[in-house]
Subunit: 484 residues, 2 copies
Amino acid sequence: MKKTVALGEVPHFYRETDVVVCGFGGAGACAALEARQNGADVIVLERFSDGGGSTELSACEMYLGGSGGTSLQRELGFEDSNENFRAYLLQCFGENHDPERLTAYTEGAAEHFDWMEAQGVPYKRGFFGGRDVVAMTGDSLQYTGNERAWPFNLVCEPVPRGHLPADSDHNGGKVLMGVLKKRVRDAGAEVIVDARVGQLITDGDGSVCGVGVKIDNEMRYIRARKGVVLTMGGFIMNERMTRRHIPRQESFATRHGNPGDTGDGITMGVAAGGNAINMGEAFIGVAHYPPAELTYGIFVNQAGQRFVNEDVYLARMGEHVFRQHGRRAYLFIDNAHFSRPAYHDTTEIVAVGETIEEVEQEAGLPAGSLQRTVAYYNAHAERGEDPLFNKSADWLTPLSEAPFALVDFSLDKLHPTVFTLGGLETRSTGEVLTSDGDVIPGLYAAGRTAAGIPRTGEGYASGMSVGDATFFGRLAGRQAALAG
Amino acid sequence: MKKTVALGEVPHFYRETDVVVCGFGGAGACAALEARQNGADVIVLERFSDGGGSTELSACEMYLGGSGGTSLQRELGFEDSNENFRAYLLQCFGENHDPERLTAYTEGAAEHFDWMEAQGVPYKRGFFGGRDVVAMTGDSLQYTGNERAWPFNLVCEPVPRGHLPADSDHNGGKVLMGVLKKRVRDAGAEVIVDARVGQLITDGDGSVCGVGVKIDNEMRYIRARKGVVLTMGGFIMNERMTRRHIPRQESFATRHGNPGDTGDGITMGVAAGGNAINMGEAFIGVAHYPPAELTYGIFVNQAGQRFVNEDVYLARMGEHVFRQHGRRAYLFIDNAHFSRPAYHDTTEIVAVGETIEEVEQEAGLPAGSLQRTVAYYNAHAERGEDPLFNKSADWLTPLSEAPFALVDFSLDKLHPTVFTLGGLETRSTGEVLTSDGDVIPGLYAAGRTAAGIPRTGEGYASGMSVGDATFFGRLAGRQAALAG
């Protein structure tokens, strides 16, 4: 089926409204709310029988800060300037970052937290200072990324920025989306479920003025007087697309997302003239913690060499394992710190031994390689130093209590979770751009349908997807309501 | 300007023909020739005042083999089965490879050599067995990639596949394009120069039936009864595109291509419904040889560790330097093997010393790191072994003659050449595909406008671009002539 249809070819309009939001996850809900709050009539179209999207499936951390600190940060004693927040995000995404988006986000994220709390999402004034992917203490503030790790700690002050709904463990998404979905309906947006959007209606001048959507297995057309907002997720569930855009990551991936992450928003946007960018980038989740104690271990590649400071966030570890020959990597750990990695608890222990030489031999590592690596590491760890990769002294201690183990974190064995970080190029307002940088009138995108704040696995931190999706969803909904 | 125009909106046709070929480089010339040979009337549109494209700027090696060997390979005593050729290309591009394209290429490459010779391109029955990017001996056959290096030598028999026009050194492109451009005109194709194609004409059903082209600063329309072939190069000269698709590589790149590599073919193809894939991949040319003797040296990263076998092709070295922290890498070499790298002869020597410790200190590498690396390397090189990275025994010798030097190959210092490896997804026949995998009737692409055989810098070898562009240019021209 063609992904665009000319206005002149539309036989009949089933509905007409100001703003059509396609997809009722975190980005879509926020877009709908802001569009309503700015006076627009809104129809939300959701492919499944209920909204929620990948946001609802997540722990729903949001990565927020700046403006001196969100109210949660400040009340817990943390300061966070825009400069500090921006410096961190710049270090995360380097040349891949979008300057306009970064400015909007660092300046607006603190207000976004207040807005989210005002919607009714509960947050608890408690700080979890440990090392975990999701705080299991009920607290709402935690470190979630590489804030305290090299080289991030060279360029910015470590500040916790993970904002988690109260007492929610891994179920924050249900809490947050439960609140937002109700708010959207209460605000008077019409939500049509079991409605799969498949076409954008384009005017003669290239502007977008509605959608074609399958409802009750029949294509119906909805006119949008002001704009169409695409918040339809990423493409990790579309095998044709992952094979072409992230073929290497696909080869070992456990696909992470909701079944609707089939890239429809991206391909429709491209068909209407949009530019898909950053399409080869993905998150690779090599969760070498929890438990936090495993951070005392060292990662080695097939040459028995270390390659990264082990106190990094799990997606940074994923990216660095991905770069090793054969994508092979092993955690070396001693008896004092050994336990099973919680998220990869069936991963093979490839060698156990009373000496490092025994482990090295059993694992088939080059003779002497692991022994040399551990000897060098231990000698410096004793002094709280890691001259090779600058792991924090908090996680440095000689690995010297036999027996020793080598745990397989090779990607073809681990099958880590993978999701996509590419999508439509937009302005921070959600306006979709062509490859020449022109705005396509009437077309907006947010969430993983757009290329957002997080653009590399190397710099990713928990909370960046939901933070980005909900924040820029709001901007897109507002822009659509005020335009046209 | 919109990149497509509806047939109904075309005011007047300046010309009408069977096949319009956009771009007169290697791919375009071959497409035009095959289209003519298959009975089609052909117009070739060239943006500049003469054709040639990036093919003409290159040494014009073609990476060919299979079918038992090209006539050049066989006459020089080399056998090359389809299976062996395919196994090599599979190892090169892994999950990124296109199976259909690989089959067509491995089966057809030997015939392609005969065809090229039949056009009048001169080849000399001489084999250069040394290690160089381009043979400077006048010989036409050489190794150009990773054929003899690990891990390629584990999965296939090393065979030289670089086919270079006779006695041409770095000027093979002038030789080959000189021949092809004359052949195209002799074959009766009309070549219009100073003609920049900017739009594809699309029919109501989405098929492509012509182009809009600026000639004498006026938009003119040319109808193509059978098809339009896009052979307009890659996008390395388009800063807006490189910033979005290869932002990291752009940050240190010396852009390598012709001024017409502005991505117009790709963006027009996408506007007509095509799918751009592999857009984040690029060639990074870290030429650590010639002179070949530098291969005896070892590359270390900022942790003073080796990370790859140094006997690899220059783009594989580029990719592995790219993966190191800070993209920093140094060549460590002793007095017995030192010289300036020919392609990077102004690169800084960051340290020189009578001892390795001195070099390590002067370069600011972690204390003991380089000393340990060299000690381990030397001890094994003595026995012809490289247990860490399997460098061939041909290039293994202890580095022990003082003084020692460390030469900077960090990417932000080196500014290596970079070109793009992404483009339109096509069938091996050049038919452009949508993101759903449907053929767009009337639209073809080849050369760097398409995603071709070479899809990663990690697996690239000299001759793959021109081999791919000319071979698939021919297939696209033939298909266009026979279709419709």
